[in-house]
Amino acid sequence: MAEIVKPAKEKAALVVFSGELDKALAAFNIATTAAAMGMDVTMFFTFWGLNIIKKNEGQLQSSGWMEKMLNWMNRGGSKRLPMSKFHMFGLGTGMMKALMRKRRMPSLDEMIQTAHKLGVHMIACNTSLGLMNLTEEALIPEVEGVAGAATFVGIAQESKISLFI
């Protein structure tokens, strides 16, 4: 019997560098749609983008006074992200979240869960984690693992879509 060979999925690769709510929503909007359209999607979270995939609960564990200070000022977590405009000490962002609920738009957390369900690969940049003296422990379990730039470039080389957000 002839083996049925499925055509390889087309790939999409996203660098998520920004840690703001609006940019994170845009990134997950594109990522989930690409996955829904049958693409194999990888999101590579680096620098401020790590804030999107940090756990919301608990304290960030790190050593060194500069690292501790950075992680205190840059706590992150999907529920704490500011907007890139009109954050206004949380007032603007709170109003935007209320508007999103009113229009029955999914929250960032729901988008992350949807992406995970659709098989989107979420990878954290090991250099950024190292810089902030964090380990994978600080990240949500949906994150598949850590990798370096060569891994991303390798995926991007094979991808039809590459985005930097």
Binding site: I4, N29, T32, T33, A35, A36, M37, G38, M39, R103, R104, M105, P106, T114, L118
Partner: protein, 81 residues
């Protein structure tokens, strides 16, 4: 489109914005048999161009659309294999 096309399942996406109708279509079509027809009802105008694009990307068959007031009824036939 053929007016007497019959849907095997209906997905109500009224009130939802992009990309939710497409995401929910992806989830719902997985539960259908090949050849069955899914009717998606939405009031976000994006569906008019998004659903044909989704069909082109996934290989499912776009059968057409009917506009009833502010609602769009879009028909998709699940592909084989």
């Amino acid at each position: 489109m053929n007016a007497d096309i019959k849907a095997d399942a209906i997905l109500d996406c009224v009130g939802l914005y992009c990309p939710m109708p497409i995401i929910q279509t992806t989830e719902h079509i997985a539960g259908l048999e090949a050849g069955q027809v899914l009717e998606v009802v939405a009031d976000d105008k994006g569906i008019v161009t998004d659903m044909p694009a989704w069909c082109k990307g996934t290989g499912h068959e776009y059968l057409g659309m009917q506009q009833q007031g502010g609602e769009y009824h879009v028909f998709v036939r699940k592909k084989h294999g």
